[in-house]
């Protein structure tokens, strides 16, 4: 791919994926500035590696995997780990779209899940990924992903009793 083609490739992907990735990264990191950094890093890494991308997985899976790993790296970095990040999730800023109490309850319940359960919850219920896609993104055994999904589902069912009903 020459320089112009790579730019065009990037432009298309920013248009399509910037907002979904920003929401995903925010849900992982619970921090707007860090989420913006993570999205930017994701696109830079994807741009650097776009020549190596092969269509054995979808571009969504590929970008999501980069984003998830970038978020994990950010959480591992020394200054994040040394910073007290304990502000309650009920202080999320107001959005441009009206939301009701249930939206707020659901979002807070997901954000408050333990990290490993939140990870699979976001990929499965928020990103709509299949079990196989999550296995590819997280590079975890299928059984581990399955177990975590069941555990997350049980926790959410417990917290969100009023609106919960079974998947199809």
């Amino acid at each position: 791919m020459d320089q112009d083609m790579r730019r065009e490739w990037l432009d298309r992907h920013i248009t399509e994926w910037e907002r979904p990735l920003l929401r995903l990264c925010f849900a992982f990191l619970c921090d707007t500035a860090l989420a913006e950094d993570a999205v930017q890093e994701t696109f830079i890494k994807a741009w650097r590696g776009c020549d190596r991308f092969r269509a054995d997985s979808s571009e969504r899976t590929w970008l999501t995997r980069i984003a998830v790993n970038t978020c994990k790296d950010l959480l591992k970095s020394a200054w994040v780990r040394n910073t007290d990040r304990s502000v309650t999730p009920d202080l999320l800023p107001e959005g441009s779209v009206p939301f009701d109490e249930r939206d707020d309850t659901v979002t807070r319940a997901v954000l408050a899940l333990p990290p490993k359960l939140k990870e699979v919850t976001l990929l499965h219920w928020y990103q709509g990924m299949t079990l196989d896609e999550i296995v590819r993104v997280l590079r975890l055994p299928r059984s581990t992903v399955n177990y975590r999904l069941k555990k997350a589902k049980a926790m959410l069912k417990d917290k969100l009793e009023d609106w919960y009903y079974e998947d199809e």
């Binding site: 925010f26 619970c30 990040r85 959005g95 441009s96 779209v97 939301f99 928020y126 590079r139």
Partner: protein, 348 residues
């Protein structure tokens, strides 16, 4: 009826819609890409890469001689290696310790490794006396029984191996809780038993950015430190980055596969760390390399940070993965200090 999947997605989309009001990162991305595409940078990096690969074929000592390394940094590296040779504590295990160097009157150095907060009682302190390129290491818990895994009163290399394995599985509580219990028995940190998994919650919310006078003083000090280092600069940044990279490769003996994964980490900034520590996370231009200047022990430095990582999380990590930070003297190009953080269990 909608499924849970659809309900959760639409609920979160509505609740997180405040993110839609943020500006696109497109312009910033193009700016960064333009910098990466600049031919002068490409040339520098490729020369650096070839040089680095050649360097790996030679001994560490010879490589170090090829670079200008300050006595302090040299003593640190000598002590790191001595700690590994004499106690079996590898660089990755050393991440569970804070390292400090102290110059002594006779020109030698005392390098101490103290267990990170919460682990300091069980891990104790290792002290290396470095003179004429040789180091003798001693341990503050010498003679204490280290058998019995995490139940032992003092933890040596066997426990450190287990801690690394647990940390890789993201299970840090197994040893931090135990360490706190043991310390509590001896009344050193009795109130510090870690809680269960903490929740990650938002931080960059309006209204929590009140600065104290102490914060302002720290910010001013940081600004002065940066400005002084920037004004003293004589070397181009590309050269200092190449020096940092060569030091990492040669000192830590990275192989070709590891070198191919080594990535300049551009997201760091002492400013960002400082501001984050006082609750400000919306920092503009954090990619700006001007933020990597710092005056350390009176020496103007440029902070070069490289990341060696394996995709797939902690359980997929390989040997020597982690963060490498090298402080390069902006006037002479000497390596003044360096740090390695395996990003496993501690942040020493």
């Amino acid at each position: 009826m909608k499924t849970n999947k659809e309900t959760l997605r639409s609920a979160m989309d509505r609740r997180l819609s405040f993110l839609d009001e943020l500006p696109s990162c497109r312009a910033e991305l193009y700016h960064r890409i333009a910098q990466e595409e600049a031919p002068v940078m490409k040339k520098k990096l490729s020369v650096g890469l070839v040089f680095a690969i050649v360097l790996v074929l030679v001994t560490v000592a010879a490589l170090a001689a090829g670079l200008l390394v300050s006595p302090r940094a040299s003593a640190s590296r000598t002590a790191d290696i001595a700690l590994k040779d004499q106690y079996g504590i590898t660089e990755e295990m050393q991440t569970f310790f804070y390292r400090e160097e102290e110059p002594l009157e006779d020109g030698s150095f005392r390098v101490t490794y103290t267990g990170v907060y919460g682990l300091d009682y069980v891990l104790g302190t290792y002290t290396a006396l470095v003179k004429d390129g040789k180091a003798e290491v001693s341990w503050s818990r010498e003679g204490t029984d280290v058998s019995g895994g995490y139940d032992a009163d003092a933890w040596g290399v066997e426990q450190l191996k287990q801690m690394m394995a647990d940390a890789a599985k993201d299970d840090r509580l197994s040893y931090t809780q135990k360490a706190a219990e043991i310390a509590a028995k001896h009344n050193t940190q009795g109130d510090d038993v870690p809680a269960e998994t903490p929740e990650t919650v938002p931080t960059d919310l309006p209204g929590n950015h009140e600065l104290t006078q102490e914060d302002i003083d720290r910010l001013n000090q940081r600004e002065a430190s940066k400005t002084s280092a920037l004004e003293a600069r004589k070397l181009p940044e590309e050269e200092m980055i190449a020096i940092g990279r060569e030091f990492i490769i040669s000192s830590y003996g990275l192989n070709e596969e590891q070198i191919s994964r080594l990535e300049l980490y551009t997201n760091h900034s002492p400013d960002l760390e400082m501001l984050a520590s006082i609750g400000i996370t919306e920092v503009p231009e954090q990619q700006n390399s001007n933020e990597w200047y710092e005056t350390i022990n009176g020496t103007p430095c440029f902070e070069v940070e490289y990341l060696l990582y394996s995709e797939g999380g902690d359980d997929q990590r390989t040997e020597k993965d982690g963060y490498y930070i090298v402080y390069v003297n902006v006037e002479t190009g000497a390596v003044e200090q360096f740090e390695y953080n395996s990003a496993l269990g501690g942040w020493g």
